[in-house]
């Protein structure tokens, strides 16, 4: 079967358990089993090729430019691991079917399990190290989900997060390491990397790459000092512990060290780091395991210890070390998975895993007893079981390993580790199964159904078979060893034998077993000693560390983002000025190309007024009404400035905009407090003022600089001046620019105006629907209202002037193309005419007489402008292309008709609609509950004959 299918099957199959969940537990587990079986059989179909020494490959390009491709390869090493993953996977699935209770969501469980399985198979079959990284992190993620499977247990959640953080960190470090490795080798394909041993080890990036890769491997394989996450991962259901956290996932780090062994090993760095970490882990894990009372914790630390053992063997950098490591991986996978499953059976039946509450189970659970005992004895290194063989090879390897120039260090520590290992194995057997039968088990233990004990039994059979007849396994182990070594070294010409003769390793073994028995004999005092000593606990330290980081993160984040806008703005301005200043000082300043102009007394006076008004605004801004007046003065002076600089269009626009803005702001002030309170300390105001002054000076300097210099070449405005009449049909260049040269900008801007009005409307509408509505309706104005809110004089005057103002607007609109004016200004003028009606007679009266909803006016305006633009498509011209012609209708003179005028009409409507809709929205807020809307245009009307006192208490709001 293609390698793709082997990797893809578990992933695709992961969809099934969730679907089959409803069909029952058997169906759910059944499909999972079948999927795994298919992948397993698929793997076996490749066995002949692997045995023949071929490397099976498959390749699909994914991101060839990056070097990340879906390339898979299957050699001895890959086959070995894939076989373990899928084979043990089958047993675990069968076991898990019976282990999970009815309350557990089996579909979810098997989905995660298959995801993990696929990722794990992916790791061991990847030829591309970036692809390997993908699968690597996927195992971390699926392990996270599986550890946290029992969501209600805090241990599960914390263990899951811890495992993810630690292995995730390692994975991220490994990204760095493997990318460096790939950059050195020039390819991310393992097949290429493995050929480049010399180049890689000579590269200056070798050491950082090695460190980062080892960080990844050590975290994944729980090597000291990253071993602490593994015991906490035991909060997962036992099938997960047996599968991920003893047989497969934790071996991923070891797998990678083996995979990269030909290029990374053999240097002093590799030797010292890997051997030391392995040795320390082995001893430490064994010691801690001895004193653990939780069966799974005991097994977890024993796993840590054995992983350390394998790591140490790989660290030696010798072919024999690799040979022993490979063999021990196989043996450890068999006996440890069986042990975990046995522990799970005990937990499942006795409802406790606490070894202190157990004992004497051999009478109640004979089958389990046999299975667990054989597996544990194998782990202890008892002859005729497979654990003995590899352990002795390990001890033999240590006798040739000299660390830190102390010849006895490694063998002594290894022997000590084996001794402790034997001790905890004996404890596991003795305290669980031996001893007198008790009557205080939390539940009545008995052997489970065969579905649960068969899977470990199968493994135990392997333990015995390999233990008695190692020659059966030897060719395969050598095949795998050869795959690990690659071209870097030859497979050692040794055989796995039960009897090697009287070599040092044998004595070390004997010492370990006898010592183990001795430790068991004095276990009680030892335990008392152990428990009386304070030990660093990894979990609180880790959680404290993460919590500490989180506290720092919160501190930084919340101090930085404290919600004060002035601070944000201050930082923004300082940044802008600093960046601009930096650009300035690193550049060159040339001479001015323009001379300073002479200034007369009138401009100076106007300029002084502008400055004075602006300063006044800053000083008086706490009184909002005064501030508004100051804004008006500033606007007026700017308009005058435009006139002075011969820009009558701009002046008119500015002027009308000022009028409308002031009216709108007055309306808004109606609902706001009259003053702005002082909210910041004097120091902060000094700070803000300094920033503002610096910003102002910087702007001034920049403008001054530009005004004294010509552009580097002719500005485009020359073209506009030259072609305004010829191409745009208008002599008012400003208007032609607005509606023709850059009509598209204007189109955008009227849309901005329209949106602004729409959102003011939407905002006030939301307010009126919400809790603010009551507050608004019942508010009591903080200042006395005018007695005569709609004075007759004003009403009459606005009515009379309205047609005149409208006509002026019409006139301004029409002349726009050639003289100052245009749709924008005219729209503002017409708006003012209508606004005056609102002011005179009140909102209610005016809006009752409104025939065109302002929404529609805005919409129509924008639509007309857009459709005018589209119109030019029909004469195969681009959007907004203008045309004009001269017509003569008697008795008038010849006049110009320009399509731009139609566009201008859109502008006009949009402006009118936008202004009026904003005003209307504000006015709606002004209505109050206890005030009747007047149905008359003015409060005091001599022509009306209803009695004055009936109207006395009915002044309307608004306007």
């Amino acid at each position: 079967m293609s390698l793709f299918f082997i990797v893809a099957l578990p992933f695709l199959g992961a969809l099934l358990p969730g679907v089959m969940n409803a069909a029952g537990r058997a169906a759910c587990a059944g499909v999972t089993f079948v999927v795994t079986l298919m992948a397993f059989v698929g793997l076996l179909t490749n066995l002949p090729a692997v045995l023949a020494g071929q490397v099976v490959t498959a390749r699909i390009d994914w991101m060839p430019q990056l070097g990340l491709n879906f390339t898979l390869m299957l050699d001895g090493l890959g086959f070995f691991f894939a076989f373990l993953i899928l084979g043990i996977g089958l047993l675990i699935i069968a076991y898990g079917r019976h282990y999970l209770s009815r309350n557990d969501n089996m579909g979810e469980f098997f989905t995660y399990l298959l995801l993990f399985q696929g990722a794990m198979v992916g790791i061991v079959l990847s030829d591309n190290i970036l692809l390997l990284l993908v699968f690597w992190e996927l195992t971390s993620l699926s392990s996270f989900l599986l550890i946290g499977y029992w969501k209600h247990l805090p241990e599960g959640r914390q263990g899951a997060r811890m495992a993810l953080a630690v292995t995730g960190m390692g994975g991220l470090a490994m990204i760095g390491g493997l990318m460096m490795l790939g950059q050195i080798a020039g390819s991310y394909e393992l097949s290429v990397i493995l050929q480049n041993r010399e180049a890689i080890q000579a590269d200056p990036l070798y050491t950082p790459a090695l460190l980062l890769i080892l960080l990844g491997c050590f975290t994944k394989s729980a090597q000291f000092p990253f071993h602490f996450w593994l015991p906490h991962a035991m909060a997962a259901p036992t099938p997960v512990s047996a599968y991920l956290h003893s047989a497969t996932m934790v071996k991923a780090g070891i797998f990678l060290m083996a995979r990269l062994w030909p290029v990374l090993s053999g240097t002093p760095e590799w030797f010292v780091i890997v051997t030391t970490a392995g040795l320390v882990t082995m001893v430490l894990g064994a010691v801690i395991a001895l004193f653990k009372h939780d069966l799974k914790a005991l097994l977890a630390f024993s796993t840590v210890s054995h992983l350390g053992l394998i790591t140490m063997l790989l660290g030696t950098g010798t072919a024999f070390g690799v040979f022993a490591a490979v063999f021990h991986i196989l043996n450890h996978a068999t006996f440890k998975a069986a042990l975990f499953m046995s522990a799970g059976i005990v937990d499942h039946e006795a409802k406790t895993r606490d070894i202190r509450q157990l004992g004497g189970l051999r009478h109640l659970m004979p089958v389990t007893f046999v299975i667990a005992t054989i597996a544990a004895l194998s782990m202890a290194g008892i002859p005729l079981l497979n654990g003995f063989l590899s352990k002795e090879m390990m001890l033999e390897a240590t006798t040739k390993t000299v660390l830190f120039d102390i010849w006895w260090l490694v063998p002594a520590l290894a022997t000590f580790g084996s001794l402790m290992s034997a001790a905890y194995c004996f404890r596991f057997i003795g305290h669980t199964f031996l001893g007198p039968r008790r009557d205080d088990y939390p539940a009545q233990p008995h052997d489970p159904n065969p579905g649960m004990w068969m899977p470990p039994a199968i493994l135990v059979v392997l333990v015995i078979v390999i233990g008695i007849a190692p020659a059966l396994a030897e060719p395969f182990v050598k095949l795998v060893t050869n795959a690990v070594l690659g071209t870097a070294a030859e497979v050692p010409d040794k055989h796995i034998k039960i009897w090697h003769g009287l070599i040092p390793a044998l004595y070390m073994s004997i010492v370990a077993i006898i010592g183990g028995l001795f430790v068991m004999a004095v276990f009680k005092p030892l335990l008392r000693f152990w428990e009386s000593r304070a030990r660093p606990e990894a979990k609180p330290m880790f959680e404290g560390f993460v919590e500490g980081i989180a506290v720092i993160a919160r501190f930084v984040t919340h101090r930085l983002h404290n919600g004060a806008f002035t601070r944000y703005a201050m930082i923004g301005f300082v940044t802008i000025v600093a960046a601009g200043y930096h650009a300035w000082v690193t550049g060159t300043v040339g001479d001015a190309t323009r001379a300073m102009q002479q200034v007369g007394p009138v401009p100076i006076a106007g300029w002084a007024m502008l400055v004075a008004a602006t300063c006044g605004l800053v000083i008086l801004h706490r009184n909002r009404f005064l501030a508004l007046m100051m804004i008006g003065i500033v606007g007026l002076m700017v308009s005058v400035g435009f006139v002075y600089f011969s820009a009558p269009d701009l002046a008119m626009t500015q002027f009308t905009v000022e009028v409308v803005t002031i009216i709108l702001l007055l309306l808004a002030l109606n609902f706001l407090p009259k003053g702005t309170p002082i909210e910041s300390t004097p120091l902060r105001r000094v700070r803000d003022a300094s920033v503002a002054i610096i910003g102002g000076l910087a702007t001034f300097a920049l403008a001054f600089h530009y005004m004294l210099r010509d552009a580097v070449t002719t500005p485009i405005s020359e073209f506009h001046l030259a072609n305004s009449y010829k191409g745009g049909g208008g002599t008012n260049v400003v208007n032609v620019i607005l509606v023709d040269f850059r009509g598209f900008d204007t189109y955008g801007e009227i849309i901005v105006l329209g949106i602004a009005a729409l959102l003011i409307y939407a905002l006030t509408e939301t307010l009126l629907d919400g809790p603010v509505r009551r507050k608004l309706l019942n508010r009591v104005p903080d200042q006395p209202r005018a007695g005569d809110m709609h004075p007759m004089m004003m009403v009459v005057l606005t009515r009379v002037t309205m047609p005149v103002v409208l006509l002026v607007g019409f006139y301004i609109f029409l002349r726009g193309h050639n003289e100052p004016g245009g749709g924008f200004i005219s729209g503002l003028i017409v708006s003012i005419a209508v606004v005056m009606q609102y002011m005179a007679s009140g909102f209610h009266w005016a809006s009752d007489r409104l025939r065109y909803p302002y929404h529609g006016v805005i919409g129509a305006g924008v639509l007309i402008a857009g459709l005018t633009g589209i119109g030019s498509w029909f004469v195969t011209k681009p959007f907004l292309t203008s045309d004009f012609t001269y017509v003569r209708i008697p008795p008038f003179n010849e006049f110009e008709l320009a399509t731009a005028a139609l566009f201008d009409l859109g502008v006009f409507l949009a402006v009118v609609g936008a202004v009026m809709l904003s005003l209307e929205s504000f006015s709606r807020l002004a209505r109050r509950a206890n005030v009747e809307d007047s149905e008359y245009p003015m409060d005091i009307d001599p022509s009306r004959d209803d009695p004055p006192d009936a109207r006395a208490d009915a002044p309307t709001g608004g306007g």
Binding site: M63, H152, H561, G590, L759, Y761, A762
Partner: protein, 517 residues
């Protein structure tokens, strides 16, 4: 001259006023029109993107005035990809807004939505800096309307800060445009890139300051630290579908930087060297770190997502700041990813809000529809944190790869990887709290009337999130071809001759090519 290239701007610009004019009281009609419009936009954008795959440049003279005198719309590989991304994102966001009834909780959602699209699409297509300013205004004002859609105290407060900060940005934009025009006499990008040659080496301050100010404008939009302060609270407080749409808004800033600072002010131009090529990368790295730290610090899920957006923009800017074709190609790949991932996460946080009434990161009883919501959160978090197998991981590899052997490589690698770890921890804590720890407390008594009603989000809402997720998966699976294409885009950006000659040498009304040069 084909008019298609302008259609993505005109369509929403006509649809929106039509909705205001004819359908403002009928939510049903608005929905139909809005969805139809976006579907049409997708078709248009896809067709346009297809047209320029060969590297040609589509060009449109508004009002028939040739560049640089009139405004031009230019479609090349980059801009058409951005409009395609925008319109596809818009469709799913719109469906979500309809499915969750967000669009009906205030006025004018659909009109503002269309205007918003017009602004974004216009910004991607224009070839003129002043026109870009206009579209920035359109998208700013429309986004403000969308942001405060449905009102509420916290939202309005955040909205005010949003609009104020962006007004600072707009003012700065005007200053920058004024400076550039004063210095060069043009605002057309292609023309500008030609006129930089005339800058006197003895008189460079003018153009230097102008270039920096303009970059800062775009940096504000792209939420680059320390100009990002407007983003966290406004994105967190905005209605979820709006925040999801805003995922593309920060990209407008990134796009503008890519466009202007590869064509007009590339690092090899002497007059403007030693500026952004110097400090943009450190600032981007700080953004990345601040974003990740914020993810860990957040107390609410929506804010967590907002900080992750800051971080992902940092990542985009890191890639851009390398100013190499490889870096830009990585940035473009990452932009697509980060837009989709951010949108998914904002929508997921809204699913949580629907399920349990708030998004506080505290223990509360399990909510309805947990499994699917949790699965989407998990997937979105993986994508955002840059873990395999989703596109975030691939994007991260591309950025790391592009940074190899460049200045500050160690910093880039260290910060990219560390911030990834911090986000992983942050997301894991949040997810474990919301989706797992909920099971540790007793569910509220079924008979208890005071228990809040937990609603289940509609199928359309889930469908929209699922659709975005499918896109993300496609972005991962087809990473090879996509990255090939972004590499071609980057190539086109660093060889802008075709772009410039098309824009400047096509004659228009009353002008011949190069006549006035």
């Amino acid at each position: 001259m084909s008019h298609w290239i302008i259609a993505p701007i005109i369509l929403p610009a006509l649809l929106a006023p039509f909705i205001v004019l004819a359908a403002r009281y009928h939510i049903g009609i608005q929905r139909v029109l809005s969805v139809a419009g976006v579907v049409a936009l997708i078709a248009l954008s896809a067709a346009l993107a297809w047209q320029v795959t060969d590297g040609s440049v589509m060009y449109y003279r508004l009002g028939d005035w040739a560049a640089p005198f009139g405004i031009v719309i230019v479609g090349d590989r980059l801009s058409t990809m951005m409009i395609l991304l925008t319109s596809v994102l818009a469709l799913f966001v719109l469906l979500y807004a309809i499915g969750s009834n967000w669009d009906n909780r205030g006025r004018h959602f659909h009109a503002l939505f269309q205007f918003q699209l017009m602004g974004i699409l216009g910004a991607f297509l224009t070839g003129d800096l002043f026109n870009l300013f206009v579209f920035f205004e359109v998208l700013l004002i429309a986004s403000y309307g969308l942001m405060i859609h449905a009102g509420g105290k916290a939202r309005l407060r955040a909205g005010v800060q949003y609009v104020l900060f962006n007004l600072i940005g707009s003012t700065l934009f005007l200053f920058a445009l004024g400076s550039i025009y004063a210095e060069t006499g043009t605002l057309n990008m292609a023309d500008l890139s030609q006129r930089l040659a005339f800058v006197d080496p003895a008189e460079t301050v003018g153009i230097r300051v102008a270039a920096v100010l303009l970059l800062l404008v775009f940096a504000i939009k792209a939420a680059l630290v320390p100009l990002h302060f407007w983003l966290p609270s406004s994105y967190a407080e905005a209605p979820a579908p709006v925040a999801a749409l805003f995922a593309i808004m920060t990209k407008v800033g990134a796009y503008s930087i890519i466009r202007v600072y590869t064509m007009v002010f590339p690092p090899e131009v002497d007059a403007t060297s030693g500026l952004h090529d110097l400090w943009l990368l450190p600032a981007a790295l700080v953004s990345l770190a601040i974003g990740a730290i914020g993810v860990l610090a957040a107390r609410k899920m929506d804010r967590l997502v907002a900080y992750s957006v800051v971080g992902s923009m940092g990542m985009v800017m890191v890639a851009i700041a390398l100013f190499t074709p490889q870096g830009i190609a990585a940035a473009l790949y990452y932009i697509v990813h980060s837009t989709l991932a951010a949108a998914i996460l904002f929508l997921v946080s809204d699913l949580v809000r629907i399920g349990r009434g708030n998004v506080d990161l505290t223990v509360q009883s399990p909510m309805a529809g947990t499994y699917l919501t949790a699965a989407f959160f998990f997937a979105g978090a993986i994508a955002m944190a840059g873990l395999p197998p989703l596109s975030g991981f691939l994007g991260k590899l591309l950025v790391l790869d592009a940074a190899f052997d460049r200045p500050l490589m160690v910093w880039v690698w260290a910060i990219v990887l560390t911030s990834s770890l911090i986000s992983v921890v942050g997301f894991a804590r949040a997810g474990s709290l919301v989706f797992w720890k909920a099971h540790s407390i007793d569910p509220p008594d079924q008979d208890d009337q005071s228990a809040p009603d937990t609603a289940r989000p509609g199928i359309l809402a889930y469908g929209a999130v699922g659709g975005l997720f499918a896109l993300l998966v496609a972005h991962t699976v087809f990473a090879g071809p996509v990255h090939d294409y972004t590499t071609k885009m980057a190539g086109q950006l660093f060889q802008p001759d075709e772009y410039i000659s098309v824009v400047l040498e096509t004659p228009g009304k009353l002008s011949k090519p190069k006549e006035t040069q």
